[in-house]
């Protein structure tokens, strides 16, 4: 077998694995809102900023994967039990790393991410400065 064929075979194997879904019904709160609208709003806001572990690039609020449903149920059950959303995020980060959260904290690794908009805005103002001066003349 040529190497590229080999990699295609591996890709097919991997894709069947990720497509496999269980036949069990979704978890209790996977697709069911919480009774208390205030708690549901909290849960929804958190779910939109947590990354799906299977379809990486979607939030768990958007994903149809079984595991995303189970994560939504976990989030809603814990919110229902009175846990703070940031505590649930911390619990997941403890297990999966910062990767699982779409809301990056301010730390040495991420400060360019937060500083970039300000720096770009300042650079833009500085560039535009010359133009404004020209018009006034």
């Amino acid at each position: 077998m040529r190497p590229w064929r080999h990699s295609i075979a591996v890709l097919l194997l991997v894709s069947t694995a990720t497509l496999a879904q269980s036949s069990l019904p979704p978890a209790r709160y996977a697709n069911t809102q919480l009774e208390d609208p205030r708690q549901e709003a909290e849960a929804k806001a958190l779910m939109e900023t947590l990354r799906c572990l299977v379809c990486q690039g979607q939030s768990i609020a958007d994903s149809d994967a079984d595991l995303a449903g189970d994560m939504r149920s976990l989030v809603r059950q814990r919110i229902k039990a009175g846990e703070r959303p940031e505590a649930i995020r911390a619990w997941l980060i403890e297990r999966y790393g910062e990767w699982v959260s779409y809301s990056p904290p301010l730390e040495p690794l991420t400060w360019p991410l937060w500083a970039a908009p300000v720096v770009l805005l300042l650079a833009g103002l500085w560039l535009a400065r010359g133009r404004f001066r020209l018009k006034r003349r």
């Binding site: 694995a17 496999a20 036949s23 069990l24 189970d70 976990l74 997941l92 999966y96 790393g97």
Partner: protein, 175 residues
């Protein structure tokens, strides 16, 4: 000074291209590694998945000797490929416990009848809650747990026959 500034956008663009080229060249690693390696197993207690085996709790993983915890499912295709490797580990005297993810008892029983049964305990995790507590994101995954219940290694995906040595080595190191 003015002349130099004219080149600045090009320099920024070149820098951008370099970042993109670097990102494209580096092979992506879609595996999500659990941050719990080196830490104690989170406390859990799972009901038995099948009648023939007891369920699994975190206390069962503090028996003084290292064990394997295999996260699997009857609906998982690579788990079938992994089954003979687990049987080989069992033959070498390695205790293996299973956590069946989102599975029915009868489906697990049929899976074990078809692919043979390497497990001591099998706990059922119908809503993946223990899987999430372990920092695991798919099936199959295998954890090497030492005699005190500390996770020593996470193996993501099926254990290939050529990876058997790595698992044995991790078990030895966990002794």
């Amino acid at each position: 000074m003015k002349r130099l500034i004219l080149w600045a956008p090009l320099a920024v663009f070149a820098g951008f291209l370099m970042v993109v080229a670097f990102g494209l060249k580096r092979p992506p690693d879609p595996a999500i590694h659990s941050k719990l390696v080196g830490k104690p197993m989170p406390a859990f207690e799972l009901k038995p998945a099948v009648a023939e085996h007891p369920g699994l709790s975190s206390e069962d993983l503090k028996q003084g000797a290292p064990r394997l915890v295999n996260v699997f499912a009857s609906w998982c295709v690579p788990c079938i490929a992994e089954a003979p490797v687990l049987m080989e580990l069992k033959r070498r005297g390695v205790p293996i416990d299973g956590i069946a993810i989102r599975d029915r008892g009868e489906d697990v029983a049929a899976f074990l009848a078809r692919n043979r049964d390497p497990y001591a305990h099998i706990g059922t995790d119908p809503n993946s809650q223990v899987q999430l507590a372990l920092g695991s994101s798919g099936v199959p995954e295998t954890f090497v747990v030492d005699g005190k219940g500390v996770i020593r290694l996470q193996h993501i995906g099926a254990i290939n026959p050529n990876e058997l040595g790595d698992i044995i080595a991790a078990l030895e190191a966990a002794k």
